[in-house]
């Protein structure tokens, strides 16, 4: 059973919780939860710092919402504990926890106006009426819904409901704000706009945000750190850049963006470099400290992101480490083009994304021949499985 310290320490130095804080905002230790025999969470531990924008990312059914509900107190773990601001709240009921949630369905009370919805939490705390009014108006101004105050939830658009749900949670000044796929129901453009607003709001308020999402772009754009969940356990916990550039497992590599997998055999391990024989010849890839050990002769998988493969026109001699390939399929995306390549030697296929920097690059045709240039060590990824 790994303890909290181990989980955070084993990350690369740049991804630790913000320093200079005495007690973390949230500590989840060894939490497991099963629903009628099916494990939703399996011994999950993580620490979230104060003022951090933290994301739980994963496909549906990975346990991310269950973890959020356990932190909120809407579900109880079978084992393990939850601490908020250093205080053990594992058995504290939801209404006495200093956290508030923005639900995926928003769950705005249909029989109340926007103003009453926003005031609900403060009324439950039995604050004085003038104090409630002041904070409700302030909260509605912050989320720019003040002109909707007298409306009912049914008279609001999706984006407006989302703002009301956010205001309703934030007026309570929670220590931690939990967001359960808050933008999933909105169309793309509105989603992008609200992402920007959400990010700015979190920076301004300095409240710890925990966002549950299955949208990797959303997680990358918003979060300080991201925990990728898969099958009830944390697959990898790091900041967005580290997750994308240095994924540890096949799942993380392929859930965040696209990744070409190059199966191979380990030739030798030199300090922080691993050399493996693959269909693209012998390739060297970096292996950071703290990663699992590889030994010569062992099977391994290297990964390379589609945009990190450099192509050149099929002219002149093949230099060492270069390979000839033909285009199988072209998907034109505007700023860039996705190419499926078939290597001339062997059966390996590669996904390549190249910037449409000039007219020739933007006008690739299937059947065309290209040369895949030598892979640089820093662009290759070693995967654990």
């Amino acid at each position: 059973m790994p303890d909290v310290a181990e989980v955070t320490q084993s990350d690369t130095p740049s991804v630790e919780a913000p320093a200079g804080v005495s007690t973390p905002a949230v500590e989840v230790t060894g939490v497991s939860r099963a629903f009628s025999g099916v494990r939703a969470l399996d011994n999950v531990s993580l620490t979230i710092g104060r003022g951090e924008f933290f994301s739980l990312l994963g496909p549906s059914g990975c346990g991310k919402t269950t973890l959020l509900r356990i932190i909120a107190g809407l579900d109880l773990p079978d084992s393990g504990s939850v601490r908020l601001g250093g205080r053990d709240v594992t058995h504290t009921p939801a209404h006495r926890r200093p956290v508030n949630t923005v639900f995926q369905s928003y769950a705005l009370f249909p029989h109340m106006t926007v103003r009453d919805n926003v005031a609900f939490g403060l009324r439950m705390k039995k604050l004085l009426a003038p104090e409630i009014d002041r904070r409700v108006v302030e909260g509605m101004e912050k989320t720019s819904i003040i002109e909707l105050a007298a409306r009912r939830p049914t008279q609001l658009s999706g984006g407006q409901r989302q703002r009301v749900a956010l205001a309703r949670a934030l007026v309570n000044e929670p220590e931690v704000l939990l967001l359960d796929e808050p933008l999933a129901a909105l169309d793309l453009k509105l989603r992008r706009q609200l992402q920007v607003e959400l990010h700015a709001l979190q920076r301004r308020l300095g409240i710890t945000f925990i966002l549950v999402t299955h949208d990797q772009e959303e997680a990358l754009a918003l979060s300080d750190r991201i925990a990728v969940l898969h099958g009830g356990h944390i697959e990898q916990l790091a900041n967005g850049r580290a997750l994308y550039e240095r994924p540890r497992t096949r799942f993380v590599a392929q859930f965040l963006g696209t990744c070409n997998l190059l199966p191979g055999t380990v030739r030798e391990v030199r300090g922080e470099t691993i050399v493996a024989a693959t269909d693209l010849g012998e390739l060297a890839a970096p292996l950071e400290k703290g990663r699992r050990k590889f030994s010569a002769g062992e099977q391994c998988t290297l990964g390379v992101r589609p945009e990190k493969i450099i192509l050149r026109e099929a002219q002149g001699e093949l230099r060492p480490g270069e390979h000839e390939a033909s285009i199988l399929d072209v998907v034109y995306n505007g700023p860039d083009t996705d190419l499926s390549l078939q290597l001339q030697s062997g059966s390996l296929k590669l996904q390549v994304c190249c910037l449409n920097a000039n007219l020739r690059a933007s006008n690739r045709q299937s059947g065309q021949r290209l040369i895949v240039t030598r892979m640089t060590e820093e662009n290759l990824i070693v995967l654990d499985d």
Partner: protein, 317 residues
């Protein structure tokens, strides 16, 4: 033979399609009237014959006077209503307003007790697994298959001085030794609740069954304790069921007179007794009709106020 069948079927299908086609089109006034009559006619006719006409007859009779031999005769008069208000032959005596009030209290009290009993039941049944749910609902309905009088006599036996419930109550010091729980108000209410509970449980259950619990979670998350979660997140959702249940219990319970008669010791008269007495024993149809009209009016007025208050919330749900 099959040819005839298929011809008929084809004709029916063609008609169905033509109705479908017409649905979106503008209809002439006459067509529209014909269509509404066709759809609502049978039910309207039924209401007219069995509801509206008798009601108007009662209303008419209530303004007539009683003949020598219990017949209904002309001079039109307000006398029955004057008597009902308490200005009888023997000076002022508000007997009938009191009877009406007593009946309304009985109806409202029964409805209230039914709500208190039915709420936990509805939540309990809604939380059961599907097979048990059906069994529980059947158990709720089964008492309705028994005759009202039999159920009432059963309560007489149960609550009689020598019954074990009375003995238990006596042993606990709640009543005098040797006394019975029956006759009395407790016996009346016990039997009333027992009889009318299904009418409250079923609509409430229907509401509880389709509760959206995400509102309860949101309320909990915002700091609401158990009672506040119920009041602000659940109660607004089950209001339609509560409203329907209260109507279904209050209306018949207000007119109930057999149970108060048999279990209350025949000491108090209910509005039902009063009407029955005027029609059958005294043969005073105009007066009986007046009581019926006024009690109907009072109940309708109460309902109108009740509906107006809950309408806004009903519209939202």
């Amino acid at each position: 033979m099959f040819g005839w069948w298929s011809d008929a079927f084809a004709w029916l299908m063609a008609r169905a399609r033509s109705i479908q086609v017409l649905r979106g089109e503008a209809l002439s006034g006459r067509q529209r009237v014909l269509r509404i009559l066709g759809a609502a006619g049978p039910a309207g006719f039924w209401l007219l014959i069995f509801f509206l006409v008798p009601l108007l007859l009662i209303l008419g009779v209530s303004f007539l006077s009683r003949g020598e031999l219990g017949t209904v005769e002309t001079p039109l008069t307000f006398e029955p209503y004057r008597r009902l208000a308490g200005f009888g032959l023997l000076g002022f005596d508000p007997l009938y307003p009191i009877i009406l009030a007593r009946s309304v209290v009985l109806g409202a009290g029964t409805a209230l007790l039914c709500v208190i009993c039915a709420l936990p039941m509805a939540f309990f049944i809604a939380g059961l697994r599907p097979t048990w749910k059906t069994a529980a609902l059947t158990l709720v309905i089964i008492p309705l298959w028994t005759n009202l009088l039999i159920r009432t006599y059963a309560w007489q036996l149960l609550l009689a001085p020598e019954g074990f419930l009375s003995r238990a109550a006596a042993a606990l010091g709640l009543i005098e030794a040797g006394a019975g729980l029956y006759p009395g108000a407790a016996a009346v209410y016990a039997c009333m609740v027992c009889d009318y509970l299904p009418f409250m449980v079923l609509p409430l259950y229907a509401s509880v069954e389709k509760l959206d619990w995400s509102f309860a979670e949101a309320a909990m998350d915002l700091g609401a304790n158990g009672w506040n979660v119920f009041r602000h997140a659940l109660l607004p959702q089950i209001k339609p069921g509560l409203f329907a249940g209260c109507l279904l219990v209050f209306l018949p319970a207000t007119g109930q007179f057999v149970i108060p008669d048999l279990l209350g010791g025949a000491k108090t008269s209910m509005i039902g007794n009063a009407i029955q007495q005027q029609f059958l024993a005294s043969g005073d149809w105009p007066f009986g009709s007046a009581i019926a009209v006024v009690s109907l009016g009072v109940v309708m007025l109460g309902l109108w106020v009740f509906t107006r208050q809950s309408r806004e919330e009903m519209e939202l749900l």
